[in-house]
Amino acid sequence: MSTEHDGETTKRTLGRGDFLKLGALTVGSGVLAACGAEGASEPEPAAQGSTEKAEERPPIESEPGDLNILEWAGYEYPTLGGKGGPLQPYVDQYGKPKYAFLTSDDQALGKVRAGVTPDIVHPCVSYVKDWVDLGYIQPWDTSLMPNFKDLNPSLVKNAQYEGQQYFVPLDWSFSAPMYRDDMVEPEGGEDTWAVMYDDRYSGKISWWDSPLENFLIWGYVQGFDPYDWDQWTDDVLGDATSYLIEKKKNVRNFWSSEPDMIADFKNGNIWIAYAWGNAFSQVKSSDVSVVYGDPKEGRLSWNCGLVLAKDTENYRHAHEYANAWASAEMAAWLIPNYAYGHTNTTVSTADIDPALVEAFKLDDPTALEEPKAHIERYAPDRRRFARAWEEVKAA
């Protein structure tokens, strides 16, 4: 049951995972450029390259060149590779890749486990270990990607696993509480994730229907680092579950479709929601008075990128493709078109709307660093959280 498409048939219904991707306006190259500039002064330890030397690989001409990519809808041909698209140079030179689609990281893993064999997959950084454990991927040879040196060093380092660069970090964005500032006054006058539980706004709050994030948020509000998995004893998870069940009475719905949530927000059905930047930019463009929160506990953020199949016959093509994705042209296209952040630090942010610069703190070089923001990390026992979340939903 392959979902492979020739790149020309592209549009599909968006699933929750797509919204993760298509969500999140974070015109972040400003921040990242700043981070990059700062990070560049302290060179990061270089990750080890592929176990097999690039020179030992056959030349690109002798590869089949039919790249198969497991990709999020919206990142395929012709959207990116068509005329005027940022990947057009790659397509012109090497031909159209074939795309199959993923709707979530879990689903992508499931598909590959079930026998789909893409050369490249586009997961998010918290799943790199899963891909390595699956035995499906190999490290990239960063020397084959001239644009790699322009990527944000801290995100590059964050993407390394066991000293290897299995993952080329590319697109990213924030997650934060979004609220109507004409209706909502956060407790104590300071932005906080606790606004997601506020009894005063009962019936006007919307949580994301996600097995993990709601527990992470609870952890932040409790004042501990929720990515420190040792903290999540059965008792702690039990407390979190009870608390969420108690506060569920304030929640109007658990949103799973971003457009639905945006519509609810614009219509005034909800005043407070877990949101990605894209939702903020859309709501803001209507006449609703809205704020993209900067909680004192820190924003959440995600970062996705490319991994390379161990058995690919298109080793050099895959590197060319990843290099094209890592280019400044790609970043310059991604920011205005999908309103995502991109890890390439060489893009000018001069033309960005000042309101967005403020909302996403593009003038703050430390905006992506802890404790202001927390980049997604591997979760060793997602099933446990999923079970607890099911309990919250069922209660």
């Binding site: 019936g203 639905d260 059905n269 099911e390």
Partner: protein, 303 residues
């Protein structure tokens, strides 16, 4: 066609005809049977094996375990969701049948020559996709929807305080399911009433029964198989309902179908997902058997 009682007298062409018809029958029946086996029985079998840990599409340890079933039976969260689903489905089915009955009655016994036109109007929602009907309900029930807007316009409610529970609630789930299923439910009741022998009603009237008595003693009992079929038509599909609670259920309308989807999609817990699916299927199968038996007893009684 006269068939000779003596077997020896059967002619060769007759036998060939028999063979051909047997082959045709086998072909006609065989295709759906193969279809059912491949696309229903085999997947159900796989799910059943999955639920006890002896099969997996993915590499890893496979050994027989009843843990998933035990957890479920020992008062897990899923059991609560199941009972909630039963409650919602039961409520939906009963109300849908109660609403559909007068409709079917009118069409079958009162509408006369217009009944087929009216029937076409009744089933016209089927010309619109299920999803569109669901979204239409969101438009009706939302805070800025038709119902609330009317309430604001008449001053019954002010826009800051829309009617509570109208959307994102169990009420919204039940209402939406009823709206979607009423036309569907009306059909079997209509069929039962349509086949009613009118002379029985005349006889009842001749024997001095009032219209109400005739309805209670004749029409209702004779239409009960249709009513029961209608009930089953709603109860069984709504028990595993997924999209309606997802779109209008909010935080309290989560149903069993949503739990199954979550197990497969969010938590990648295929064992639990399979166990829940097999449980739902078994429940439905048992209910079907009970209803079928009840229906056949009803038929025997009425005959």
């Amino acid at each position: 066609m006269a068939v000779d009682a003596r077997p020896v007298a059967r002619s060769a062409p007759f036998l060939r005809g028999r063979r051909r018809s047997t082959a045709t029958t086998a072909g006609l029946i065989g295709t759906p049977i193969v279809w059912l086996v491949v696309f229903f029985l085999v997947p159900v079998g796989i799910a059943a094996l999955y639920s006890v840990g002896v099969f997996s599409f993915f590499p890893g340890e496979q050994r027989f375990t009843l843990t998933y079933w035990k957890d479920f039976v020992d008062g897990s969260v899923y059991l609560d969701v199941f009972w909630r689903s039963v409650k919602i489905s039961l409520l939906t089915s009963v109300i849908a049948v109660l609403l559909a009955y007068p409709l079917a009655y009118y069409l079958a016994l009162v509408a006369g020559s217009r009944k087929y036109v009216l029937l076409l109007i009744l089933i016209s929602p089927f010309f619109v996709s299920y999803f569109l009907r669901l979204f239409a309900m969101k438009v009706l029930l939302g805070d800025q929807g038709v119902v609330n807007s009317f309430a604001y316009w008449t001053g019954i409610r002010d826009p800051e305080h829309p009617i509570p529970q109208l959307i994102y609630s169990q009420f919204a789930v039940v209402t939406t399911l009823i709206v979607i299923y009423v036309p569907f439910v009306a059909l079997p009741i209509f069929a039962a009433l349509e086949n009613l022998d009118r002379r029985l009603l005349e006889a009842a009237s001749d024997l001095g029964a009032s219209r109400w008595q005739a309805f209670r003693k004749v029409t209702l009992p004779l239409s009960l198989p249709g009513v029961l079929a209608a009930f089953v038509f709603v109860f069984i599909p709504t028990l595993g309902e997924y999209f309606t609670p997802l779109l209008v259920g909010g935080t309290s309308g989560h149903m069993f179908g949503n739990s199954i989807a979550d197990a497969f999609l969010s938590s990648q817990d295929w064992q639990t997902g399979s166990m829940l699916s097999v449980f739902l299927l078994a429940t439905v199968a048992i209910l079907m058997a009970v209803f079928a038996r009840f229906l056949s007893m009803q038929r025997l009684e009425t005959e």
